[in-house]
C-alpha cells in the first residue's frame, strides 16, 4: 500500500525516481511535501520550479504546477511566475551548483528583492548529475573528479550568502535532521518574503566515494554527529564546539515583499 502523503502529493506513475540508492534528495523532497500538507495549500496554487541537476529532477515527481528549467536559472524563471501571478506559492528546488555557481547571481538578487519565493537548496557539496566535479560548496581539500589533488577553492556558506544578500528567512539543516527540516521548510513556505532552507545532503555515489566517506548510512551518521543547532552551540564550552557545524534558523524577520510592493504600486497609479 502506498503512503497517503505520496498518493496526495506525488505523481505515482512517475516513481520510482532516478536517484541512486542512499541519495538523500528523496528525503528533502518528501519533507517539502509534508510541509505543503501541513500548511494545507491548494495543490493548484503551488508551483515548483527547478534548474538542472539530480536534485532538480524532483519537481517531475511532485503533483503541482511544475517547471524544470535551465541550469542555474530556476530563481529567474520563478521570479517571472511569482511576479506575474503572486497568488501562486512558488517553491524553488536547486542544487548547490545550480544555486550558487551558475545561478549565484539570481540567488543574491532574488534575496535582495525579498520576492516571495521559497528556495530549498539540496546541498550535497558536489555536482552529482555530471559525475562528481567540485562545486562552490565542496570543502577545501576534498576531492572531486576535477579536483584530483584536492580542492584549493574556498567554499561558500550558502545560508550566510543569502542572508548577506537580504533573505528575510534562512535556515540550515541536514538530511539527517528531518524533524527540524520539516519545521524549517514549513516556516520558509509560510514566510512572506524571500526564504531559503539549505539542506545538507549526501551524494554517496560521487562525493562519498571520492572522499572515502563510507556508505550512505555512514555519511548520514556523520551529519548526525557533527551538526548542532547554533543556539545549542552558543551554550557549549569551546572544547565541545570544536569540529561542529552549525545549523538552525538563522534569520526570520518581516520586511515588505516585492510582489506586494508592486501590487501597491499598481493600486497607487489607479487614482
Amino acid at each position: 500500500m502506498n503512503h497517503p502523503l505520496a498518493e496526495s502529493y506525488f505523481r505515482m506513475d512517475k516513481l520510482p525516481h532516478i536517484w541512486c540508492p542512499g541519495c538523500s534528495h528523496g528525503i528533502i523532497m518528501a519533507s517539502i511535501a509534508r510541509a505543503i500538507d501541513r500548511l494545507g495549500l491548494d495543490k493548484d496554487n503551488v508551483c515548483i520550479v527547478s534548474g538542472i541537476g539530480c536534485s532538480s529532477r524532483a519537481p517531475g515527481y511532485m503533483d503541482f504546477n511544475t517547471l524544470h528549467t535551465t541550469h542555474g536559472r530556476a530563481l529567474a524563471f520563478a521570479t517571472g511566475v511569482k511576479l506575474a501571478n503572486p497568488k501562486l506559492e512558488v517553491i524553488v528546488i536547486s542544487g548547490d551548483g545550480d544555486l550558487s555557481a551558475i545561478g549565484g547571481n539570481h540567488l543574491i538578487h532574488a534575496a535582495r528583492r525579498n520576492i516571495g519565493l521559497t528556495t530549498i537548496c539540496f546541498n550535497n557539496n558536489i555536482y552529482g548529475m555530471t559525475g562528481g566535479q567540485y562545486s562552490p560548496t565542496t570543502p577545501t581539500g576534498d576531492k572531486a573528479t576535477t579536483a584530483p589533488y584536492g580542492n584549493i577553492d574556498k567554499p561558500f556558506d550558502i545560508t550566510k550568502l543569502a542572508i548577506g544578500a537580504g533573505a528575510t528567512y534562512a535556515a540550515k539543516v541536514t538530511a539527517f535532521h528531518v524533524t527540524q527540516m520539516d519545521k524549517y521548510i514549513e516556516s520558509a513556505i509560510a514566510h512572506k518574503g524571500f526564504s531559503l532552507v539549505e539542506a545538507i545532503a549526501v551524494c554517496p555515489t560521487y562525493y562519498g566515494r571520492k572522499n572515502r566517506k563510507g556508505s550512505a548510512v555512514e555519511m548520514m551518521t556523520w551529519l548526525k554527529d557533527h551538526y548542532i543547532d547554533f543556539k545549542v552551540a552558543e551554550k557549549l564550552p569551546p572544547e565541545k564546539r570544536e569540529g561542529k557545524e552549525l545549523m538552525g534558523e538563522f534569520i526570520n524577520v518581516d520586511a515588505p515583499e516585492y510582489t506586494a510592493l508592486y501590487d501597491a504600486l499598481i493600486d497607487r497609479l489607479k487614482d
Partner: protein, 375 residues
Amino acid sequence: MIKFLQGNEACVEGALMAGMRFYSGYPITPSTEIAELSAERLPKVGGKFIQMEDEISGIAAAIGASLTGKKAMTATSGPGFSLKQENIGYAALAEVPLVIVNVQRGGPSTGLPTSPGQGDVMQARWGTHGDHPIICLTPDSVTETFYLTIRAFNLAEKYRVPVILLTDEITGHMREKIDIPDPSEIEIYNRKRPETGDVYHPYGVEPGEIVPRMADFGSGFRYHVTGLMHDETGFPSNSTENARKLMDRLMAKTVTYRDDIIDYEALYTEDADWLILAYGGMSRSARAAVKVLRQKGHSVGLFRPISLWPFPEEALSALAGKVKGILVTELNYGQIKLEVERIACGRCPVEFLGRGNGEVITPEMLIETFEEVAK
C-alpha cells in the same frame, strides 16, 4: 491618434495593444527605451515590469510569466541577445509564447553600441543550440515596428514559438509620424487554453488544431514543463521515436504554416530585370535608391523580406528565375546574401554591398554600386 514616436516607443505601444502584461529585461543601448517605456506604462494597465540582474534572467522571467498566462516580452541588443540564446531554445522546445526584441547594433562583442548593424540575422535563426523553430520579423519604419510587434505577439500565441522582432539602431531610434489605430481595429490572437474538465495532454495536439492547448499555471491543470525531450504528457522521455515525433512537429510549425507567417514587400518587381534586396533599416536607403534608379531608366525593383525567418523563399525564387541579377545590401558581411544565393541557385548573379562598421549605406552608394554591377 497621430503621434510622433521613436521606433522603440512604437514597439511598446504595439506590445501593449497586443496585450503585453509582463516585461522583464536588462538595459542595453540601443534598446533601453523599450524597457523605460514599459516600466512607465505597464503598472498603469495592471501589468508588471521588472529589471532583472542580466539578460539571461530577463528572458527566463518572461518565460515564467508566459506560463501563468501573461503575454510577455523582453528586449535587448547584440551582447544581451547572445546571453538570451539558451533560453530561446528552452521556449522553442517547451513551446512558450514569447516576444524577444533585438535592436541590432554594430559589430561582435561590445562593438559599436550606438551605431546600427544587421549582424545578428543568422544568430536570430540559429543562435541557440540544436534545431528549433523560430519566427523573426524585421520592420523598416516606426509604423511597421508598431504593427510587427502586434504581429509578433499574435504569431507567438498562435504557434507557441518564440518570436524575434529584429530591429536595428536605425528604426529603433528614428522618429516618425505614426497613426495609432483604435484597439477595435486591431486583430488580436490569444493562445487556446484547455477547457475545465478536459483530460489534458499539455503537449498533445487536438484534432484540427495547430499546436497543443496551453493551460495557465494556477488554473487547475497541474502539468510539467521541461527543456528535456518530452512526450505528449509533458514528462521527459528518452525514446528516440518520441524525440523524432516531437522534433518533427516543432520543426514543421514554420513550414506547414509558412503562408500564414511569411511576409515581404515587392516594389516594382513585376517588370523588373534587376532586384535590390534589403530588409529592416537598410531598406530605407534601398527604397530611395530604387526610386532614383527607376527615374534614371533602370527597370529595377525592391524585394524586402519582412519575415526573415521563415524567409520568403518561394516569392524570391520566382523572381530569381526572371531577373538578370540581384543586388543584396545589408549591414553585415553578407549573411542574407548566402540565403539569396541558395535560393537563386545559380539562375542569376547575386551581387553584394555590405558594411559592418556602423556606417549606413546611403542611396548614393547603392546607386553607384548598382550601376557598376548591372551594366
